[in-house]
Symmetry: C2
Subunit: 320 residues, 2 copies
């Protein structure tokens, strides 16, 4: 989630390292600005805050989203964007990447959901379904996960699960991993692969990087209040809310990525370890000095993340 509140701007806590690209250095030179959140029961203030966040992202990145033919539709009653990059065939044998957007479980919906999916669709090089799941304050847990489950169920009805690949960034990584647990508990087959980009798999924020990288990550700060808004009284440690604490046996091959300055570094490496300890094929990629969410999207390092995701998806999608 982008920072928009300059009420408490501070200077970067650490020097900008020479060990990253010039683009990344510029990104790291940005002072962190920390968001202050409304009281949990102030619905109007939350809605205003979320709109402000989305507007900021739109104004900052709006012109930079790549253009991909996109169709707005309803799938199983859930607003969903279907993107098909040029050259990707239609039909019920073309593989589908199910994309679950980020935004701290409160932002990144609507128009932004469709726009943010375009980069991922090009990275995947596949038909991409991006779920515009319902969010707090109006629709707290379990609405988002229910929406993801409904679209996933429709997708494995429309495709062989071997042609379905699922992924999410940040909050989307929370829902993507929780979806694996939920789908298995419902008796549904899993997808061919899972992509977790700096995933918010622990809403209790118990990992060590929430301390160590608190001053180092100039993009993300604790989402404690947001997580409480999302949970709406449910236990934050419930595996459907914090899939890090779930039984991950039977997960598909999983790609995990984070940065060394990432507030979610512990989320990512702990999930990687848990998957490996459970015998799940899982690969980890950690990028030098990268804060949560990358270096703005256009750095060589961001392209390298995309290249790794593309390679992973190529290796795990059914070979034609």
């Amino acid at each position: 989630m982008a920072d928009i509140d300059s009420a408490e701007p501070t200077q970067p806590a650490f020097p900008v390292p020479a060990s990253v690209s010039p683009e990344a250095q510029r990104w790291l030179a940005m002072p962190p600005t920390r968001i202050r959140y409304p009281a949990l029961d102030d619905t109007d203030a939350w809605l205003a805050r979320i709109k402000q966040t989305d507007d900021y992202v739109l104004s900052r990145y709006g012109g930079h989203f790549p253009s991909v033919p996109t169709q707005e539709t309803e799938i199983a009653g859930v607003h969903t964007f279907v993107l098909r990059p040029d050259g990707v065939p239609e039909g019920d044998t073309t593989p589908v990447y199910l994309d679950i957007h980020g935004g701290a479980l409160i932002a990144g919906g609507g128009e932004l959901c469709g726009l943010m999916a375009s980069g991922m669709a090009l990275t995947a090089g596949m038909e991409t379904w991006s779920i515009d799941y319902r969010m707090p304050p109006l629709h707290p847990y379990p609405a988002a996960l229910e929406d993801c489950l409904a679209v996933y169920q429709a997708l494995i009805g429309a495709r062989d699960p071997a042609d379905v690949l699922v992924g999410g960034r940040s909050a989307g990584g929370n829902l993507a991993a929780a979806l694996m647990l939920r789908a298995r508990d419902e008796g549904l087959p899993g997808p061919a692969a899972l992509v977790l980009v700096s995933p918010e798999v622990d809403l209790t924020e118990s990992g060590d990087s929430f301390e160590i990288n608190r001053a180092a990550d100039n993009v993300l700060a604790s989402l404690r209040e947001v997580n409480l808004l999302y949970a709406n009284g449910h236990d934050l440690a419930d595996p459907y809310l914090s899939p890090l604490f779930g039984d991950v046996s039977g997960f598909p091959a999983t790609f995990l990525q984070a940065g060394t300055r990432d507030l979610f570094l512990s989320n990512t490496v702990r999930m990687h370890r848990k998957l490996r300890a459970t015998g799940v094929e899982a690969e980890l990629h950690v990028f030098e000095a990268m804060p949560h969410g990358g270096f703005g999207g256009t750095s060589p390092e961001d392209r390298e993340v995309s290249t790794e995701i593309r390679g992973f998806l190529e290796r795990h999608r059914r070979q034609a």
Copy 2:
């Protein structure tokens, strides 16, 4: 390298996380103590300091090293320990793990070299050759690398390179990676696989974790003075001294491991990225809250590192 100088003890800079094992928590609760090094030209003081370090490690861990049948020998004129765990067959078709010990490029030699190799020999489950390479202050660069090259050359004379696997921890990871460069430049065939455990691949210490984890790593502090002693006037950025800056094309499949609190986290992830970008098969394992060198050797996390190394070696040694 262990900390032995309590002249400047400090309190742990961060709380001990609940996200690691009780054994790991006890390790993280130890206050960091920082070593002060002699002037570069004070050879006697360096020798005394190194002896003090080795004695400390022997007194602390001496009784804990597993017992593995060990033979002291000279290979290509270099003092080397040959370890053969029970059940490992002799003969010129049994694979060999070439172990390069850690100790900041100044310590861990002699008796300690043989003792420290025993855990690795059991992890590898192979005949293990551990090189007691020459070190500063009496033998600065390139003595250690020459010794490693000489033993490696003898080893690939005695074995099919497909039966040779090379690895090192910390300073040993520096020499193991530098050996890959040097051997290739000499026209020698590479080994079947390479293991780099929190490797000191950048003696210039340019990575971001040298800043971010300076207060978080309660085991290791900057080795700037030691690196200058080792380099003895050579350029620290020379790839034979800092293999991170070398051309890693043609490297064998590589295993890399570090911790999120590790001063060498950047070394490790940058080497991983460089290998991947060059098309080398490389896998990364990063452990929650782990400082440099693990959690003392007996924690569940330490055992998990060994399990991953064992699995990697099993996958990459020639199948019988």
